[in-house]
Subunit: 214 residues, 2 copies
């Protein structure tokens, strides 16, 4: 059996994304860099999930890069031609976590656009899931309300695939426009992360989620 | 009687801000540039509201610039020394409304920081109300939930004054940090406005509001 979704990484976001994909009845391949952590994650996910080490053949038509911003570039190099023709999902927030006061990307671009530059047409790049934390993503809801998942990209077909995954997983996909809207999606998370870590905001925590009403 | 809040402008946002201030039991002075529109607005607001033309003495300790981004600079020049020692609230969204694809401000700054540069220490500048549309602001809620109002500024005392107004008006003030966080607050509205105007998003409209859960 070939998995439908490949998730690169074995941390909290990888786990949450895997559970969301399984909830959507998709099969999942976890490719981690930490062998034992990857095995533990795959075992805990149960049926529908398989795993391996980054470098193993990529199975999914959708490949989600569930690694921190600083690892996106090296992971893409490791994946090499394995991404050819896939939908690559960038979830990174390029935040300077020593200050929560600036983005690590230069002005006028975004992590997602940097990924697109590296991918260079070999795959379609979509920005998604960067505004959701692992807990609400795994649950599919927060505070009794469904999660909003913003999706930006230049390929309508690629966005539709990610959108279908999100909707099937009982969350609300919101088409945010072209890939360059990732700049705004990443910017707002600089603000939200600052709220989340601030001791002055005791009601904001790892459940904190961004939502558009109605 | 001297009004507590001065609102510059006589449009939809001026009206909604005035109603929010009156709901908070504050007296309001409307200073417009369109005399008849200003008179109509003041009359419709009823007790607690007075009005005049921009150039008349500013009464409020809080002065809200309820004008489009392109009019902020000229209005500040007209107000001149009338802003001395006040709390100036910038609500502008510097969006290129011909495309909804870019901000009009250069990278690395914001409308609020531009206001601070013009004010040049003569008053404290606060960014607030830019993420709310007039309808939900006038109602104080959307979709049965209270409105979030993000407040950014470099003066804690000034932010507290605006925060008290918001809380008293039955909305939730969220301290978003220093004035430079206005960059992210303005960026996210490029995205939200794009959703609001897009025919593809039929559930987003002038009631559309940004909220942080929980």
């Amino acid at each position: 059996m070939t998995a439908q979704i490949t998730i690169i990484g074995s941390g909290h976001m990888a786990r949450a994304l895997a559970r969301a994909a399984l909830r959507a009845d998709r099969t999942v391949q976890i490719l981690g860099r930490n062998g034992s952590q990857t095995r533990d994650l795959v075992e805990s996910l149960g049926p529908g999930a398989t795993g391996g080490i980054v470098g193993a053949p990529v199975e999914g038509g959708i490949v989600i890069l569930a690694v921190p911003y600083g690892e996106v570039h090296p992971v893409l190099l490791e994946l090499g031609d394995g991404i050819e023709g896939r939908v690559i999902v960038d979830i990174a927030n390029p935040i300077d976590v020593s200050t929560f006061d600036r983005l690590l990307t230069p002005a006028g671009t975004s992590s997602a656009e940097e990924v697109a530059a590296i991918v260079n047409g070999r795959a379609d790049v979509v920005k998604a899931f960067n505004t959701v934390y692992a807990g609400p993503l795994e649950a599919g809801s927060v505070d009794g309300q469904h999660l909003d998942v913003f999706i930006a990209g230049d390929s309508e077909a690629a966005k539709e695939k990610v959108s279908a995954l999100v909707a099937r997983s009982q969350m609300r996909p919101i088409d945010a426009g072209p890939l360059r809207r990732a700049r705004e999606l990443e910017a707002i998370m600089l603000l939200v992360s600052g709220l989340q870590v601030s001791p002055a905001h005791e009601n904001f925590n790892w459940d904190t989620s961004l939502r558009i009403l109605p």
